[in-house]
């Protein structure tokens, strides 16, 4: 198992420098992109001829859905990287990606319900395959924390979570390919091989919204990775101090691996 806290591990040293690096400028770029997207939604994009002002929800709902789904798939790829390399940093990345995507998925379901109520007169339409497919994906990933934290051994936990991330990540595109092939008449088909029929201003606004949402995902992902890594390093330092105190040395002693107490350390 790779220790994130080990001082002799060069990859761990790289992680220590890497997770929080660039977070401040990235946050600033994300804020600018979000402000630009919001401005374009309300002051640049024309009103939809069919739905009118309510269609503005599209610029929030669809980018959020796409970023959440890509996040789930990316988490599967990271899970695969963990299974292949045994490097626990990939498991941490996968876990955080799933966490952020699940939060965005809550937003997708909420904004989708609001849009459905405004457009169709119902908060939820069970006969609409796209809605039900997204709900299935959300419920699938809602299981992930329960699976992950039901396993105590850190190595087994990481492996099981990665297997789940890979299997569920493969299910996401298959699920939506099946839904698209069902050719629903109710849910708007935003993208098609003919371009989706959106005017240029609408498509540009959508693209800026998508970029802003992707930047928000990456910013939150880095923020949570940094926080989790800092907490893990702190636990390792605490164990080191406790072990050193047992040996009579106030601050010395070896560094423990995360999740594994040092031999002789106070339990």
């Amino acid at each position: 198992m790779t220790s994130l806290a080990s001082t002799s591990d060069p990859s761990a040293a790289k992680v220590r420098r890497g997770f929080g690096r660039g977070l401040v400028p990235l946050s600033a770029v994300t804020l600018v992109a979000m402000a630009a997207a919001l401005g374009m939604v309300f002051f640049y994009a024309p009103l939809d001829a069919d739905q009118g002002f309510v269609q503005k929800i599209f610029y929030l709902h669809v980018p959020m859905a796409l970023v959440a789904l890509v996040g789930f798939i990316a988490a599967g790829v990271m899970g695969f990287a963990h299974l292949r390399s045994g490097d626990r940093r990939w498991d941490l990345r996968s876990y955080v990606a799933i966490h952020i995507s699940t939060i965005l998925a809550v937003g997708v379901l909420a904004t989708g319900s609001i849009w459905a109520r405004a457009s169709w007169g119902h908060w939820w339409v069970w006969s609409e395959p796209m809605l039900v497919a997204f709900l299935i994906v959300f419920l699938l990933y809602a299981v992930y924390p329960m699976l992950r934290f039901s396993i105590e051994d850190p190595g087994r936990q990481a492996r099981s979570a990665s297997v789940f991330a890979v299997a569920a990540g493969a299910f996401v595109p298959l699920n939506f390919a099946a839904v698209r092939s069902a050719q629903s008449l109710t849910h708007p088909q935003v993208f098609s091989t003919t371009g989706g029929g959106m005017p240029g201003e609408m498509f540009a606004t959508f693209l800026v919204g998508l970029v802003a949402m992707a930047l928000l995902f990456v910013t939150l992902w880095k923020l949570e990775l940094t926080a989790k890594h800092a907490a893990e390093q702190l636990r390792a330092v605490r164990r080191r101090i406790e072990a050193a105190a047992d040996d009579g040395d106030p601050v010395g002693g070896p560094v423990a691996e995360p999740g594994r107490p040092l031999a002789g350390a106070a339990s």
């Binding site: 002002f53 309510v54 939060i103 809550v106 937003g107 909420a110 904004t111 405004a118 939150l220 926080a227």
Partner: protein
């Protein structure tokens, strides 16, 4: 240019959707912020005995 929130044309739904999104992100950031604050407190606890040591 459009008015910011035409309430008669479903503006309340649009405002609701955007407010849900903002609240969701704010709650998430607040939770992460609380975790970082806890890390900071624990770090201060740990560094206290080190700082008290005579150099």
């Amino acid at each position: 240019m459009l008015p910011a929130l035409p309430l008669g044309q479903g503006g309340a739904y649009v405002a609701g959707a955007f407010i849900v999104f903002v609240v969701l992100i704010l709650v998430y950031v607040a939770i992460i912020g609380a975790k970082i604050a806890r890390i900071e407190r624990e770090l201060a606890e740990l560094s206290e005995p080190v700082e008290r040591r005579p150099s």
